[in-house]
Amino acid sequence: MSPARHVVGRSVARSDALGHVTGRTVFTTDRAFPGLLHLKVVRSPVHHARIRGVDLSEAERVPGFVRALTHADVPHNVYTILGLIGVEPEEEFVLAVDRVRYKGEPIVAIVAESEQAALDAVARVKLDLLELPAVFDVEEALKPGAPIVTHWGNNTFMYEGHPCRRVRFGDVEAAFAQADHIVEGRYDTKPIEHAPTETTAAIAVPEANGRFTVYTNTQALYFSLDNTSIILQVPGNQLHFVGGTVGGGFGGKVDVIVEPLATLAAMKTNRPVKYAFSRQEEMQVSSTRSAWRIYMKDGVMADGRLIARKVTSYADSGAYSRQTPYALTKHAANAAGPYAIPNVSIDAYCVFTNRQPTSAMRGFGITMASFALEVQMDKIAEVVGLDPWAVRFINAYHNGDMKPHRKLVEDATLIETMQAAARLVGHELPDAFRTMTSDPRPDRGA
């Protein structure tokens, strides 16, 4: 290896550092185009309503108004984010048809000569809405008689015919009967907005060769291209997506919300079109991390061994799926934690409510499980009267263990990580834990 490649242990300036400290880094909306049009969206002012009418007549008279886009203008009017990874059903409309399911859901897009003209026209669109009862709590949404958010008749995502993602391993009820202690907990978390400093934005530019160049700050360039291609029903080779520096994403810029409409507007007007979220849109309309409610019940022996764990989790997907059904699958695979528990039962529900849709954010599905299960570990330590470190070493999984969702543990590092952490914080570990390794357990040899 050449000396120039030796970077481990050294500070290396980022490749984009010079641009950042001189203001020369080009972000999506820093680009200027002659004749640029601005797109703004008319959004639902209520959480749940039937759309009885949309009156554009006054908006059309605003000086600078160019055109409006409604659901009828969108060739394939459904987001296909999950479809791209083979998950059905597709249910979120690009522009609402006859119903809105969350406050802020897009109904009409307005394209105008200036941003102010677009805002003025948006203010003049008259909506005739019949407000419907709304539901905002995951368990309320599952009760009989709750307002139904989805088009398929209940408020959960269906996993192969089941209303939840399930894991069954051993026999939890039998194990609870044998356990010395039962430790239970309920854990609630709130939605979290990624709040990137740069808001979500795209500029679509028609080119002379009939293609469209789309400048976007998406975190998932080809995801965005594929989605746009399907929604607009144009071959992917007509779209040239240009990404680059993203002004903060954290998972919040993978949802493909602005590119399809910006590109459609550019196609309809044959002019460059910019669709950038305002800060309010970024906070209230872009996806957040889901709110979660997690119930855990653990069966524990007096020596600290966890022999059973039952988890019932509800993730609030908001009004639409986006990537949250996938979060529940990840959650179900991780809710037992990095611990070897012989009996596990997990029911993980992806629940629809009339809240802002939720989606990806840094370890979504797993971080909330970790929060709940690590608090459980501390509670267990308290109940059995052991050091919290001890409870974790005693239950830590080893290579060769079988995880509840039937994957063999292959690269366990929990024990070694805890040993390193103990050294860093100056915590003395007993010899048994200090010398423990993640190697396969001798009693579980081939």
Binding site: P45, V46, V122, A123, L127, L129, E131
Partner: protein
């Protein structure tokens, strides 16, 4: 949008009820009311100027008194249309005499449309409650000028 509250006015229920049905009185007691006229037995049209901090506008207003049970209760149905949005709603009020005065209990719900709907609902509800309370305080002063300080608004 939901607003409810209660106020005590220093006048008997009959006088309070009559004032609520009197356009002249309403012009004086609705904060920001620029004009109001009666178009039928139970319908009023007018113009109200609202100055929220930084959000200004005048609203063409239609108010109907429905289910009136003088002098104990009534229901107001209203619609305001302005440049920065629309507000449509209903409010129920109950009057009961107490120590020569009147206790007014009110509760209303409204649907806000247009740009105004993008304001935090806490601001709109708080502001609406302020306006109703101020209006009732003014009504109290109008009905019983000498006892203005007895008006207690909760």
């Amino acid at each position: 949008m939901k607003v409810s509250g209660s106020a005590t006015l220093a006048a008997p229920p009959e006088a309070v009820f009559a004032a609520i049905c009197d356009p002249g009185a309403l012009l004086e007691v609705i904060p920001g009311c620029q004009e109001i006229h009666q178009v039928s037995a139970d319908e009023y049209r007018g113009r109200i100027a609202i100055r929220l901090p930084a959000v200004v506008g005048t609203y063409d207003t239609v108010v109907r008194l429905v289910n009136a049970e003088a002098p104990t209760s009534g229901e107001l149905e209203g619609h305001l249309v302005g440049r920065v949005g629309t507000i449509g709603g209903r409010a129920v009020f109950h009057l009961r005499g107490e120590d020569g005065g009147t206790v007014v209990d009110y509760s209303g719900t409204g649907v806000v449309g247009g740009p105004l709907a993008r304001l935090d609902s806490r601001f709109l509800e708080g502001f609406a409650r302020s306006l109703v309370n101020e209006g009732l305080a003014r009504l109290g002063r109008r009905l019983q000028p000498a006892a203005a300080e007895r008006v207690a608004v909760r």
